[in-house]
Amino acid sequence: MLIQADHFNGCYRIALNNASDGAEVVSDLSYLCGATPKTLTFDFTHMAAPLTQEDREDYLPGSFGYQPTRQLTEVVAAIDAYAALVPIPAHRLTALLPDRQSRVGAFLADMQLSAVLAHIGLVVTFAGPANLELGNDDTTRQNLIRLTSIILASDGSPNFAQLQQTRSRIENVFSLALPSNVDLASSFTSITFEAVDNAIEYGGGGIIGGLYYPRAGEVEISLVNRCGGFGGRTPADELETLISAWEGSSHRGRGGGNGIAELSRLTAACFGTLLLRNGSATLQLLPDGSLTASVDETGLPTPGAAVTILLQLLPTHAIGRTDALRSFESVLEASLVMYQRGGSTP
């Protein structure tokens, strides 16, 4: 939300909280159209501690409390796209982040937010959180993938060493979450990288981030880019194109089309949720197998594409072993065996 617009001095401030997303940032920036900001500050101190909170007592398969990396990667990708357009250093872009002493600040620091923003070209400063921190954090949470810009060389090729490093982190987490099946962990990691492959080939790179909650057995990975996408000129077109890609009916010369198909199969096997965004259109595959579609009719273009995958694996840390958990353990195990044998999920 644009909370300061000092036209006289050219100072502007956009506050970002837990609910902020890419569309909101684009909307805020549209107010600056025609203005000549001397300083534009992205103020992250309005993010609150519950951003990192996932400490429910009940084990509810297929139910996700928070999806913080999805919002965060969308916001950072929107800032990145804007920074690429404005003539720096004519305009000074800054970011104000909550300091490490706060829980939310520690989380954002662990996610390498300041490093990514600095790499984009923002001057980063720190302050205390804007709001009192309430509630408890999940101390078992692991920052599965710190915010990472997948940067491509001029010929479009990626940095393979960076990809190897990111992949190792994901694989380690899947190994923790699937301790009895190392091969499956490796297979899951490869599928996640189908999305990265698509971002490299069609989206000019992107920003990836991920969290893992061992206590609840949840894995969340988000990948966002601000160019490319599936195509379409209007939000309705974008939705139609996204549905075509989902159905596997988009035209391709030879091969390809593995990303969405593989991610969908994996999501279904793990009773997870898959969110796909193409511009302003979003598709959501839910744990019950249903599909929902939505379109943001903001009147402003939301370029690029995004994918978020949320998987429900088994808790590795002590949590009350309820009847629901015991039942789910056997159902998930059967589903994963079937997945590995190449069959359809129950």
Binding site: G156, F160, R167
Partner: protein, 221 residues
């Protein structure tokens, strides 16, 4: 493994990506495609009627998109390119994850190829175990194989044990081919050659007859 004609996949992939510690094959456009082109070139340079090993030793994992490029799409090119006639690649896969991914890639494309796998293949989807070789483990067919194709390959393997080649005439011993025309039997063998699951040479005593051998029984040197 004891094969004279060996393409070291990981070494070539590391060279393409300029990444000396690379052990995962990913990114179709910047690794899958150049690697497939390099493999095609290498295959064309190899002698005919020999077992040619695409050696994936050291490769820890491969994405489906890359497996597609260097698996079924490469093998479909092998089937169509006259320069690659009589070239018989086999996929040597040491760890289960790449084997699983390649099997899926071939099955998705309704294609098949010969693979050798070290380790258990019992519950692996889209793989059909065919034999066990001393120097490179289990021989499997990766991908889609009909029951009838499988029977012909097992028959070829059986004949190889008695050092005999397989001809279309021999196929009448199989129930489902006993009553069909010679052309139809010959067509079955050609289909398996196209996928490089069987190799053949002309019978020196009867040039009209082709002598087939299971690909994994072709000489390695």
């Amino acid at each position: 493994m004891n094969m004279a004609h060996r393409y070291p996949v990981l070494e070539r992939a590391r060279r393409i990506t300029h990444t000396p510690d690379l052990d995962i094959l990913e990114v179709r456009k910047h690794l899958g495609l150049p690697l497939a082109n390099d493999m095609r070139q290498w295959l064309a340079d190899q002698p005919p009627l020999r077992g040619l090993c695409l050696d994936f030793s050291g490769v820890r994992a491969v994405t489906l998109s890359v497996a597609e490029e260097v698996g079924p799409l490469l093998m479909q090119t092998v089937a169509q390119d006259p320069a690659l006639e009589q070239r018989y690649p086999t996929f040597h896969l040491r760890s289960p994850e790449p084997a699983y991914t390649f099997a899926r890639a071939f099955a998705n494309h309704s294609w098949a190829a010969v693979g050798t796998i070290e380790g258990s293949v019992d519950s692996m989807a889209a793989t059909t175990p065919m034999a066990t070789l001393d120097d490179c483990g289990a021989v499997v067919i990766l991908g889609q194989l009909t029951k009838q194709m499988e029977q012909i390959l097992r028959f070829a393997e059986l004949r190889a044990h008695s050092n005999a080649a397989l001809t279309s005439e021999d196929l009448i011993e199989l129930d489902f081919l006993a009553e069909v025309s010679p052309a139809a039997r010959s067509k079955r063998l050609t289909e398996l050659y196209v996928r490089r699951l069987l190799g053949f040479e002309e019978n020196p005593r009867n040039p009209k007859e082709r002598l087939f051998t299971a690909t994994w029984r072709l000489p390695a040197r």
